[in-house]
Amino acid sequence: MAILTRGAYAEPGTTLDFKTGNWRSTGKPVHDHVKAPCHAACPAGEDQQAWFAHLQAGHPKLAWRELVQANPLPGVTGRVCPHPCETACNRAAMDGALAIHNVERWLGDKAVAKGWAYPVDAPADDAPIVAIIGAGPGGLSAAYHCLRNGLRADLYEALPEAGGLLRSAIPRTRLPREALDGELNRLLALPGITLNARTRLGRDVTVEGLLSTHAAVILAPGCQSAKAWDVDGAVPADLHEGLHLLKEFMDHGQFPKADKVVVHGGGNTAIDLCRLMKRAGASEVTLVTASGLPGPDTAPDDIINVVPRELDEALEEGIEIIDHATVSRLVMKGSKVTGVEVVSLKKEPGKDGRKRRVAFEGTERLLSVDMVVPCIGEAVDPEGLQGLIDGTYVWAKDAWGRLEPENVHVLGDARGDRGTVAEAIGDGRLAAQAIAAKLAGAPDPEADTRLEMGASGLNLSYYMPTPRHAPAKVPVAERRFDTEIEGDLGRAAALAEANRCLSCGNCLACDNCWTFCPDNAVIKTVELAQDGSHYLFDLDYCKGCGLCAHECPTGYIQMVPED
């Protein structure tokens, strides 16, 4: 008896002669790789989906190499970033956003432990050199991306060590020194990067001087001087500004004595300070912030701008938070503060439509305190930046951070419209790319104008419900000043998290289109098709029913009108 093999039995069905493709009336399916929301939300420009795809395949090293295409400091950002990617994650509405920052940190630590090499080549000996002022996260990112673009980088740092705010103002409970040094030292050891420490702008170097010796100058000075703070002209004699207090504590491990503290502000520095002072012995620490706490009724632009995890931990530790309020009066005994008056306020739209803060009369209340700490933000130290600084900040002209003088760029906190490490890292990449393009005589790199995939474009029926993996934390009672509070996610959980990625807008090769096409008009290929997927639409037979687009879990298939 003859053995029949697949496909060998009958002549091809002759209906293949009948091209049902001309039945299409409304549209045809196309593959469209739109942006994942995590990628769109990431200020550093990471493509989280791309590195999660490598992790799904069980290749952490490839995942890390993909990650550091954009962000050379994953071990740092995995710890300090407020992760807008997780806020944007389409899985949030289903069973919790992916633990992107935990996995990022795990990859960063893994790379340091294993000594994985950064995907950069040593620049040519005569490659143009870019001068970078400030070796904080933005400056370091700019230097790294100079290398990636074939340039060399000279870093100028006023302090003895690189790291900027990461080293001077982020508590070790969030960012241990070993994690910081591990990544920074590897980055600074890359051939083509030179660090000139203890070199201050204005005192040791000038922008004009650097421009004459370098191909371009990138300003990444950060914000170093405290904004002036007073309440109706009253200032306590022993005023300690928040960031300075924090920096002093990082250096000396001591706070001025105080039992009841009010911190006025609404950023990460304010929250860090509250927690450290409470841990250092203050019995009552209260944060007064004009922003709101996260909740269903809070507008997104009104939510307090801190890492969500840090806010949760602060509440756990017993920090009082008075939201939607401000300090309206200081109660002084001589020049010492003994109490603060707090009044409720809210952002209300004014006549011109712009929102402004309105204090509500009759909501004043008095808190008795020993110390009040303003944490209302910092300004750029103007030294050496005369002519470039405008008011408090150095405002950039465009997304590439260009300034009025040619070949001078600014990035990070100094820009005024920034405020996170990730934004500084992203700025560093853009500035380096723009400089490299200009030196090569090319136009600016093209911006990614792809659309973003929202949750409504996905078909969630195809995702297995899986809760988010959370790492262990040090319990409140055992939290001190040196031990990191959030633990390591671990390999098993990191790989499992990767498998929760919905792959928004990008092909998963799940076979759904191939399986569901009633007309056999989706062809599966072994080789990658031109658009990067493994599927072709045979438009000779596609009737345009739209089933594949509807059942595509990731929204990678879209129906578009016929040409």
Partner: protein, 353 residues
């Protein structure tokens, strides 16, 4: 050269030429279509409507049943849209019969195979009209005579081929051209026939319900039935965008909701006893299913007091199914309506180690 061989050469040039024997190499490199890693038992070019659930179901069945099969096909949509003379979309031996006698034809085919000492499995296909109504006595006879045949019923819940007339499979209160919703009636007055129980009462080895929304589950059931020596029966819920009046892109969505609300329970029966069900952990309200379909539009007429009553009636039917078959499930086995269709990078999650 005769006209016929010329035509054959032309076709071979176009579609590639299968080897004359399995050990011989193919003449030309296969086209992408020929190189598909699955058996193409039902090819493109058939004339089914856009988004046809039945065409999809038949393709899924053929993929895992073929190639060593032959098919007896009752009159109906499937027969009409696959075999517009002189063409055929089938790549297996296929025989058309009357509306009422596909099981009898299949019985004869099976007897012939047996007489010739061949193992080729015989499949019999019919729609719900041919199965629930017109061919029912032939089907009963086929089961009773214990022929080695897999009978697949593509259930689209009305006579779609002739213009959407009610069948005994049409669900309660659906509107069709012969059970129109209006002043007198809210669509079909009677209930959907519980055919699976009747089939199971023949004490056959295997009878099951499947849905096009769950292709992995569907194909598992086909493979299981193919391995059984004796009569087996599969009913596949196959939405019809034309007759059910829903968007052609929503075919799978509709089928999925039918299962998720409990109106079409996916159960398996062996020798008359329920051996397996696909559980529904979080049952959806039936209105989620009904609202997608024009045939139930009259149930959403807010001014008609009968609409609420009929919706409640259908909900009660779904609840009854859930209770009867224990569809709420036990334990935390993820393979239920929210997990069985899950996909990951590289394909379905079901069946991975």
């Amino acid at each position: 050269m005769s006209d016929k061989s010329e035509r054959l050469a032309e076709l071979r040039a176009k579609h590639g030429r299968p080897p004359a024997a399995p050990h011989e190499p193919k003449h030309d490199a296969p086209t992408a279509r020929e190189a598909q890693p699955r058996f193409r038992g039902l090819e493109s070019g058939h004339r089914a409507c856009q988004g046809c659930g039945e065409a999809l179901a038949a393709r899924l069945v053929m993929e895992c049943a073929g190639p060593d099969v032959m098919v007896a096909n009752a009159t109906g949509c499937l027969e009409v849209f696959t075999t517009a003379w002189p063409q055929s979309a089938w790549r297996v031996p296929w025989m058309h019969s009357l509306f009422e006698n596909a099981p009898a034809i299949a019985s004869g085919m099976e007897a012939a195979m047996k007489a010739k000492g061949k193992n080729t499995k015989v499949l019999a296909f019919g729609g719900d009209g041919a199965t629930y109504d017109i061919g029912f006595q032939a089907l009963s006879g086929m089961l009773e005579r214990y022929h080695n045949i897999l009978y697949v019923c593509y259930d689209n819940e009305a006579y779609m081929n002739t213009g959407i007339q009610r069948s005994s499979s049409t669900p309660h209160s659906a509107t069709t051209t012969t059970s129109p919703a209006g002043k007198e009636r809210m669509g079909k007055r009677h209930l959907k026939k519980d055919l699976l129980s009747i089939i199971a009462a023949h004490h056959i080895p295997y009878a099951a319900a499947a849905s096009v929304a769950y292709p992995q589950d569907l194909q598992r059931k086909v493979r299981y039935a193919m391995g059984i020596e004796g009569p087996t029966f599969l009913v596949i819920h196959s939405p019809c965008p034309l007759g059910w009046k829903h968007d052609s892109a929503a075919t799978i969505e509709v089928a999925r909701r039918a299962v998720e609300c409990g109106l079409f329970p996916l159960v398996e029966l062996e020798r008359g006893a329920v051996t397996n069900v696909m559980p529904i952990r979080d049952a959806r309200p039936v209105t989620d299913y009904l609202e997608l379909q024009g045939r139930f539009a009259h149930l959403f007429n807010g001014e008609d007091p009968r609409a609420q009553e009929e919706r409640d009636h259908l909900q009660a039917l779904a609840d009854h199914n859930i209770q009867t078959f224990g569809l709420n499930g036990e334990g935390d086995d993820p393979l239920d309506t929210s997990g069985i269709a899950a996909v990951g990078r590289g394909g379905p999650v079901t069946g991975r180690g």
